[in-house]
Assembly symmetry: none
């Protein structure tokens, strides 16, 4: 089976947005053995869209479109696909009910323009969209299939994964599976060097490192006759990789995050935590709260960006502030002790630093962050210099802080 | 002039990388008035590439390719373009010298495979590449132009900006400029309906709505003989749009955010703020801290996810907690008063809600969030139901909370 991915949207042709949908779908299709012959982007225009369908079906069996399902007049992907197949659209009751539910939830009247989103041809399979107002559809005629998906990735991805993937999965398909091992504390090249012999020996499974925004991953990919077989091939190599990387391997899986790992560890070991943040300003707390269930162990967070709040809420001494400055090892330690005492938590983690763009000096440059840790009566602070802009520095500091919490729990003491 | 952007690379079709080059080039071309008719991605394959050239020249005058200029056998963009035009390649001395220089700099012998990168047709313009080993080229025959650029963005972008942009710039070129107006509190379709007559009347400038991840924007685009002229054409329409949308228009510009707007307003009006967050768990504080300079006005944030912390730090009463539950109008008001009193701030904003996935009931479903606002002695709470997963609910609640702060400052009182 050959597929093409057709993004519809003038905003992509104007360069307003990057077509990340094409990457997601390409990767997904490759994983079930469907080769993508082309990716294309065209404007919101009926003639061009008809032309694109015409051309693509000369080469491929399936066209997956993204975008152009919105409520406005220039959204015409579905209408054009129906025109191409000569299919008539009628009101789709189920989608209409869902739309009514959506609007009643936001306590608004259904806007007239949204009504076009619930019309579909009888011949099609309608794909529900719990994350938006535009359902998708699978339209098939003769040997041609057009699969219509919404443009916003948050709507498109679950729709693909929940409905389309199974529909497209070839029968008796030789399965490709991959698993991911996640690393913090090592760069991509250092990590890859540690695993060089395992990587070089890899045919099935293969092992490849990727530097991600927030961490480094190794993707281990195997093919087998069945899913189980592919996973069995991955298993021993994954264990070998994890053993080799030791504590620098913090997690596994596509969507695993450091906050999930820390949250799980805290709950498993029945350890309570509190946070106090200056430069990260709530980012660490916000990440912890992203983990459902954290309420069991997360006692309180303080965002003490100002000096007054550091003394008021954390009991940091004015003398220490004056003598060493707010961004110092001493203050980081007092902050960690302060929030731990205030909340009586087992662990606390704090940050104080200079996120920039202003405020840096020669001794205390932009990017300097002290991370303070309290663990069962002991307290310590660690000095880091992070690169990048304000956002990158704050993000790096938050991740490092969470990773420090993970390590102190696993090691059982402050190192 | 019509252009198409043709990325060549099997790795893009496999979903290994996102085609950010297409966005860069689209934006650049739009800025000099060249409309991009299509973006395409095809594999490293001579036949498919020839087919793509054939098709694209039926529609467009210029094809810009990215990728497929590497030293290996499957890199064949340049070779195929020459074949398409019937041009013969010869050693390009200048490029050969540059290649020798490149390898002597990294203290290596020229690899034989790199030699193919310095062959070009005599008819072409060779584009030097100071950032890599593959020069680009402009090939022209009759009215057809193929512009060949390398794939790595670090090589492609400077080559485009230094060589190609001027080459393509139309004589006496009319400049296209666009400006963005940002909306919160109205959906895309409602906002578009409000502006229907202005949108419908728009030829130069045109006005188009886009639903973004966090807000809705209207892009107003005009062409003029000069940049100033284009901006002059935009100006009155932009003012009209802003006047029509009133307080729902919170900002302007590509990268403007609600936290920037709120931060600026607070500083301008010398109003101090404090936050207390339950379900958003530090997200509001973290957004405020993303705005440099916020330390002047941001007194303190509390992440009071647990009931104990709500009483300890915000002075919320246990009776109210017991009677109404943590997610209630009453608690939101007590939280807002509590943090304002604690910090003596002019404004405070707080959240308490159910972010899910668990914890919802019929009366208090997942997505229910109360936002509490304190403004100069008065306090009020607002009830919302947000859609989506935990992350989406928390993000929506944070944005709504910041927007409530903006509105109360502009309106001068709690409405």
């Amino acid at each position: 089976m050959k597929a093409e991915i057709l993004a519809v949207g003038t905003e992509i042709l104007l360069g307003d947005i990057v077509n990340t949908n094409a990457q997601f779908l390409s990767k997904e299709l490759a994983s079930i053995g469907i080769s993508v012959y082309r990716q294309e982007v065209i404007g919101d225009n009926e003639d061009r869209l008809l032309e694109a369908f015409e051309e693509a079906f000369k080469r491929s069996d399936v066209i997956i479109t993204t975008g152009g399902l919105g409520p406005t007049g220039d959204d015409l992907t579905k209408e054009t696909a129906c025109k191409y197949f000569g299919m008539e659209m009628v009101l789709h009751e189920e989608s209409y009910e869902a739309l009514k539910g959506f609007f009643s939830k936001i306590k608004k009247e259904i806007s007239q323009s949204n009504m076009k989103q619930v019309y579909f041809p009888k011949e099609g399979i309608v794909l529900s969209n719990p994350n938006g107002t535009a359902p998708g559809a699978i339209l098939k005629k003769d040997n041609k299939t057009i699969i219509i998906l919404p443009g916003p990735p948050k709507e498109m991805k679950p729709m693909y994964l929940n409905h389309v993937k199974n529909y497209l999965m070839p029968e008796g398909f030789g399965v490709i599976k991959s698993e991911v091992v996640r690393i913090l504390g090592l760069g991509e090249s250092t990590a890859a060097e540690k695993l060089k012999d395992i990587i070089d020996a890899g045919v099935n499974p293969t092992i490849a490192p990727y530097a991600k925004q927030e961490d480094v991953i190794f993707r281990i990919t195997a093919s087998g006759k069945t899913e189980e077989e592919a996973l069995e091939i991955i298993k021993p190599i994954k264990e070998k990789v994890k053993a080799r990387l030791g504590i620098d391997c913090y997690g596994e899986g596509e969507d695993n995050t450091i906050e999930q790992v820390v949250g799980t560890l805290l709950i498993e070991r029945d350890l309570s935590i509190s946070t106090a943040e200056s430069c990260t300003g709530g980012m660490i707390a916000s990440r912890l709260v992203a983990y459902p269930g954290i309420s069991q162990v997360f006692l309180e967070g303080a965002v003490t960006y100002s000096n007054e709040s550091k003394t008021r809420t954390l009991g940091v001494s004015c003398e220490t502030l004056e003598k060493y400055g707010a961004v110092s090892e001493q203050i980081a330690k007092e902050m960690a002790l302060g929030i731990a005492n205030r909340t009586d938590s087992d662990v606390s983690v704090v940050t104080t630093g200079i996120a920039g763009p202003g405020g840096g000096t020669k001794e205390k440059p932009v990017g300097l962050v002290y991370i303070g840790l309290y663990y069962k009566g002991a307290v310590k602070a660690y000095r880091y210099e992070f690169n990048g802009d304000r956002d990158k520095i704050r993000t790096s500091a938050s991740i490092k802080a969470l990773d420090k919490v993970r390590r102190v729990i696993l090691e059982g003491k402050l190192l």
